[in-house]
Assembly symmetry: C2
Homo-oligomer: 893 residues x 2
């Protein structure tokens, strides 16, 4: 067994098992599992992912002995199916498909109908009496093989097909007859010879090995690499290759092919949800070439074509039984592929069904109610990153709009953007930096794997063809991107860069709005609203709260954000920046006067004018967070951020009654070569103590005023950018002194809590010294990352992108905490800090506080809370519970 | 004993010992030691430094019981000296002096003649028959006490004295008679009452306690704080107070006072070297008010007044005996103070003599030869920081110049600068940022402790009065600053800001040159030369080399610097920066073309033009360092450093045949908000691999060419700014590939060694991962400090200065490695790196590589070498041996 590289399945018995995904890939493991469950699966075998790794490392060499193992497996398949590979009398055809540990839909290559040549074709015709089907299969083989295995230009083959259709006045492939397809097959062969200089291979074994090789190779084609990067799939996992006996959904009217979800993947509703195409191969459904029909009456819309439930009732009932068996077995929603050949049902694949965030939440909560899973499992079933979309905009229910047309509601949410017609344009406009152009809606006939990057940056995706399981729909749901598929009324003219609906012409750059919940396409920009946290979503998060140990706070600078975050479950403010409060028109005047002051006296005067504004700010925010802690960071950025541009200095000087030249000189003096490493944060507090004094006074005056009105306030003052313990000890003393003065004067009772951000590497390294002066630490992982890597966030964008592309960085360290490097500083500081000061309360308030991986890290680093932007609060609640539950699964408590 | 706070000494027996400096201060410990050695020392007692600390912490409160201990000690002094404190018949007078662990000459306060009032004055007159002396002492007491203890304006007292001198037509104080001084004493008392509202205290005990309190308080006067900062003396050491029976050098013609060094402190020559003043108190010598006489014939210049050897031969012989006893006892040069009272010699002080670097080296080498000390001790006797001056400029021996005047060669070296007349001006001009003004020579009648900061920034110091042991001379020697003292021919007019020598007027701002070796003052700027490393200096460094374990390399970018460093003992180049090579006129053109290239092709073309230049550079430097390793760092700075200023872009565009607007846009694109954290170092190597390719090619083509000519070359290629191991692995592969290609093509044999700088905190944190791709690590502690602290070197100057002033930072971390913070990263990286790669060779090439404290740290962190600027190489050799020897002294081997 340990050296086995080829795993057979068939006739109710498989070499592999469902949990062997690492070796068999998801598809192969499930085929084995389904076989073992007694579900009808065409026989076949899987070649291990280890062979892929071997093959890659040795630049395309297979391990010794593989050929013998494959040959032995073919013999078993022949026995199971009662056919022979290459047997002209009773030919066996194979599909050859990829299958990685996790699904990468459409990313890698597939070759079907392996084993056809003139002899087996003749045999198959004799056996099926269907020459049209056989030549259709044969020409499909050549077309795929030429493309995937031989790397020839696929357009040349499309051209042959299209030319024939034109000649015959045919619209669908189905309108071509056997002779047409036979002739096309011949033309294809000629074309192969012409383009490659070689004959199309007749030998079934040669075909098979070519296909196996091509599927392994396709692990490293650009779209697959791009998908892996987007989904963080390691390059060294490799793919398995599944070689399986072909069954045919295109053998006539009692044949069909289809895909289905055991529950609705968009809403999560517990209905059998699927589509099928009579007399077709599976690729036709997935590629969205023909719009498929519903599998049952429940989904049948008025005027739609007959459902499978109506056309083949016994098959539908068998399918329904299998659906239930699969859900009970896997205790999760399955995405299945099936083919009906000559009235017999074959299951080709089952896998965990991708779903929208909304569906994920509903399925998890309902499966718990059904007793299929427990609460822990329900909580773990929803990916934290996915749920942010549930809190993002939907169309304003109060908005009035006219619907241009409707398509299938393939992925919910709202998408408001300018029409573009290519993925390249979507990317180009998004990167243009022009805010007028950056929001786009990508409009395509259908999408293909090459479009992924473009879909990723667009606000929404609209396709004219394809169903709920088309490429566009599946990928968009995975991305949490709004998508409307199969909007058949729209006619796209790529050349003119327009689409038309009933005479209305929509041009590139025009605004459109997509309503992913309904499938409505609307001209112009429709207002959107922020949704509430309620229903199943609220239930799931309450369950999550039962498990999590990390507190979740929010980063908010004003009462509105604070209130919203609170409604999303925030348990306090972890970071209230005070500098954003200075930009109001009335305020910027005073802050500029403060900066331009010639001496401490002038500075104090300007600060005196700012005090009432700051006090008001703090009253608002402390009141909005009544009963919860509010961590207020004192002034942090370099002063020059508040300096007016050169051309405004004259006016400012006049306003302040100062000399413009002197002001310019002062502005010049404040300018820094590397402001991020300059005179900012507590360095300002040390050199201009009166600034922090004013802020401390405003905070405690606000707190005392509220406290005297009976409001329970919990202000915490945070000193930024500490790199040396003495900075904190000096400024702590200053804030403490002011706080005591104010509290004594006001005869109020307010707790004084003073702490620091840990954002300078040296503060982390000397955290034991810093901690003795701090009531709390809050990791400012943005700056910590900036300095640990030496990456300026303002400048590093271009090369970080390049680094991620080249695989030098796994992810942008500003998005997901670098656990190997920056994480060491976090752990070190948390440990040293806690040892030196056992009462130290430790959290994180960098952007990473809303990133699930980073939250998991913070949990294990022993932090008390994370703080993130309001919309990430639910994400953080869920991620924090995942951290606990996943550790339990690994045996930690 | 443990609770003893007052330590008596006298009559050949002392409570303290020489090694008790921490408690008794240097002066107190030596008085005890001398007493125990049987040397004649006036009796007295020392109040412990612990009392100072107690006193400071409690804002001026003395510990209980101190008063009783002091009173008991006074009784013992009275018994020893046969006099009584406050006894009108036979009065005992006390001096009250400070004394810290290390000498802080003139920094703290002293009060003399404590115990005088009308009654004891009368008694003393009766005893000495010298009314003039007694009233002179009395008025001195009042003057000092009013100043130091009572804090009154000293100028008011000078005015009284000057008025009287004017009235009498007197030039010297000596020209005033007893009546004058008696009348002055009365006027002083009136003035005290007028200014303070209080009578001058008559009670000797009140006088004594006031003086003790004032001396303790003087630990925290600004000039003392400033001196401690400059000399890195901790604030919490505190001072002892030495209360000692007064003896008088001003009791008539067979009285005198003097200071001496057991060897010449300027040259180190083994001669008894000193000065005395007949009929004077010690303050007169040190303050430089009168120009003193030589103590012996050996030093007597033509026309000088009689030496002590001539005027008091027996005393001189006794002094000579004591000199020898002291040198044998202390095995080091001593700086002694003595007083002759009525023909009896009293030793007032002995301490380790300050000396110039030249003297330190000569004394150490000669004492070893004399068998006084061993080689280790000799090496330890010379401070590494001090010897850099031995390598700095002296006047060019070939230069022709006219001497304006001559003074005493008080401190050697050359000082070329513009004349200023106040310490404030010296500082102001130095900080002006104007290179035309920054170099000054400070010209004063005499200097005082308030002038220290100004002396520190000046190129040299010139005084009109004072001798070889005057304030200016002592302080300048300590600083290693060129000084000419007692140039009596110069007449200074502070008001006019000029000085005059025989009718030649020299104005503020005029250039002068001082020759510290000869005492010559020269108008204008005389050329200077770099000296060689030879003689005693070479011997000492050879001894140092016997002990040190660290290698010493140099940072050099051109063959001249490399050759110089090699002559100073550099064992290789630790950092050869390649970007400095791009600034030549021919080169900057190509580098700009490279930067402005629109695509890789254009970039490669420009790089091709640079290749020959780089190859030539590397040939030069590799040849200069034949047989030694040369670490060449690939391009490091952000490209925009090479961009021409906006106004030159038009011309550049024309030269390159490009569109100026496009060029401006490209320049804009390259501009960064925080270039230190931007697109630079290996990030450029990753995104523009062709740049590093060209550099690697140039290096190995140069190496191969030399190797084929039989030159032994050892190039090492260093990749800068690595933060993630993959950066290094990619670029290592690139350099390695190019190197192999070149070596194979040239059929040469050159070792390929590729390593990285550790300058990004994350590289230190993940050093285990980085090390597997590196042959060596070199710590770039400049950047490492920059990022660990978040301090931009370009911007942080102003607040770092403020931080040092406030004591938040002990030293500027860019000058001396921050061992507590940045040092952790260095240790961590060295440990992790060596564990992951046992062959890893580790050094340091930041500025810290030349700082003795940092070198000591590097030794203990297990580094293999330090690299520093050429002139610091000898410093590093010596510091590296000190690291070993000091560790041995602490019991480590």
């Amino acid at each position: 067994m340990p050296n086995r590289r080829v795993y057979f399945f068939g006739e109710g018995k498989a070499d592999g098992r469902g949990e062997m995904k690492n070796i068999l890939g998801g598809k192969g493991a499930n085929l084995a599992e389904m076989t073992n469950l007694g579900i009808p699966v065409p026989a076949g075998f899987s070649i291990s992912t280890k062979v892929c790794t071997y093959f890659m490392e040795r630049d395309g060499v297979f391990p010794d002995g593989l050929e013998d193992e494959v040959t032995a497996a073919i013999r078993k398949v022949e026995a199971a199916m009662g056919t022979g590979f290459g047997d002209p009398e009773n030919p066996l055809l194979f599909s050859v498909r990829s299958g990685a540990r996790v699904s990468m839909p459409g990313m890698m290559d597939t070759v079907l109908n392996i084993g056809l040549n003139e002899k087996t074709a003749a045999g198959l015709i004799k056996k099926t009496s269907d020459e049209r089907f056989v030549y259709d299969s044969y020409r499909r083989l050549i077309q795929m093989y030429a493309d995937v295995v031989m790397g020839l230009d696929i357009e040349a083959f499309h051209a042959i097909l299209d030319a024939r259709k034109k000649e015959k006045g045919a619209w669908h492939d189905l309108d071509l007859d056997a002779d047409d397809l036979k002739s096309i097959t011949a033309d294809y062969k000629t074309k192969v010879k012409e383009l490659s200089g070689r004959d199309f291979p007749d030998d079934p074994m040669e075909q098979l090995w070519g296909a196996i090789r091509a599927v392994f190779d396709s692990w490293n084609i650009p779209r697959a690499i791009s998908y892996r990067r987007l989904n963080e799939i390691p390059d060294d996992w490799g793919t398995a290759v599944n070689v399986q006996a072909m069954v045919f959904g295109n053998m006539g009217t009692d044949s069909a092919t289809g895909v289905a979800f055991t529950r609705d993947p968009a809403t999560g509703e517990r209905v059998f949800y699927g589509e099928y195409l009579p007399n077709a191969q599976g690729e036709d459904v997935v590629a969205g070439v023909r719009t498929p029909r519903p599998i049952n009456l429940a989904q049948k819309k008025k005027g739609a074509e007959e459902s499978l439930e109506e056309t083949m009732p016994p098959i539908y009932r068998e399918l329904e039984t299998i659906r239930q068996k699969l859900e009970r077995h896997y205790t999760d929603t399955q995405d299945i592929e099936f083919t009906i050949q000559d009235g017999k049902l074959w299951m080709l694949q089952t896998r965990t069904g991708k779903r929208t965030a909304e569906a994920a939440v509903r399925i998890a909560v309902e499966m718990e109610a059904e007793g299929l899973i427990d609460r822990k499992t329900a909580v773990l079933r929803v990916e934290p990153d996915q749920i942010e979309q549930l809190l993002h905009k939907r169309l304003d229910p109060a908005a009035d709009y006219d619907v241009l047309t409707k398509g299938l509601p393939a992925s919910p949410g709202a998408g408001v953007g300018r029409v573009v017609f290519t993925a390249e344009d979507a990317m180009g406009w998004a990167e243009s930096g022009d805010p007028e152009k950056s929001k786009t809606v990508l409009v395509r006939e259908e999408t293909s794997p090459e479009d992924i990057d473009g879909m990723n940056v667009a606000q929404g995706v609209l396709t004219a063809r394809g169903g709920m399981t088309s490429h566009a729909a599946v990928v968009a749901r995975g991305m949490g991107k709004c998508c409307i598929a199969g909007a058949g009324d729209i006619k796209i003219d790529y050349a003119a860069r327009t689409f038309t609906v009933d005479g209305t012409v929509v041009k590139e750059g025009d605004w459109v709005t997509l309503n992913g919940a309904t499938g409505e396409v609307i001209l112009g920009q429709v207002a959107t609203v922020d949704p509430e946290l309620s229903g199943n979503f609220a239930t799931l998060l309450e369950w999550a709260d039962e498990f999590r140990q990390l507190g979740v706070r929010t980063n908010a600078d004003n009462p509105q954000d604070a209130a919203r975050a609170r409604s999303f479950g925030a348990e306090g403010i972890g970071l209230c920046r005070t500098e954003h409060m200075f930009f109001g028109e009335e305020r910027i005047k005073h802050i500029r006067a403060m900066i331009m002051a010639s001496d401490e006296g002038e500075r104090r005067e300007a600060l005196g004018n700012l005090l009432p504004f700051q006090r008001e700010d703090f009253e608002g925010i402390l009141e909005a967070m009544e009963g919860l802690p509010v961590t207020i960071r004192l002034l942090d950025p370099p002063l020059h951020e508040f300096i007016p541009p050169d051309e405004e200095i004259g006016q400012l000087a006049a306003d302040l009654g100062k000399d413009a030249e002197m002001m310019k000189a002062r502005a010049e003096e404040l300018r820094e070569s590397n402001p991020m490493l300059g005179h900012r944060g507590c360095r300002l507090g040390i050199t201009y103590p009166e600034v922090y004094e004013m802020q401390a006074r405003a905070i405690y005056e606000a707190a005392c005023a509220l406290s005297k009105r009976g409001v329970n306030v919990k202000p915490e003052v945070m000193i930024p950018l500490v790199g040396e313990a003495k900075e904190l000890s000096i400024l702590r003393e200053l804030v403490d002194r002011v706080a005591r003065e104010v509290i004594a004067r006001e005869k109020a009772s307010v707790d004084i809590r003073i702490g620091t951000m840990i954002e300078i590497p040296r503060a982390a390294l000397t955290a034991d010294e810093v901690a003795v002066h701090a009531d709390f630490f809050s990791f400012g992982t943005n700056d910590l990352t900036q300095m640990a890597y030496g990456y300026s966030r303002d400048d590093a964008g271009p090369f970080i992108k390049e680094y991620v592309k080249q695989g030098i960085l796994r992810r942008d360290p500003f998005q997901s905490l670098d656990q190997r490097g920056v994480g060491q500083l976090v752990k070190m500081a948390a440990e040293k800090g806690s040892q030196a000061n056992p009462d130290l309360h430790i959290g994180i308030c960098g952007e990473h506080g809303g990133d699930p991986d980073s939250i998991n890290f913070c949990h294990h680093a022993g932090l008390a809370y994370v703080s993130c932007s309001p919309f990430r609060v639910p994400v953080a609640r869920l991620a924090a519970s995942h951290a606990v539950l996943k550790a339990r699964m690994r045996g930690f408590h």
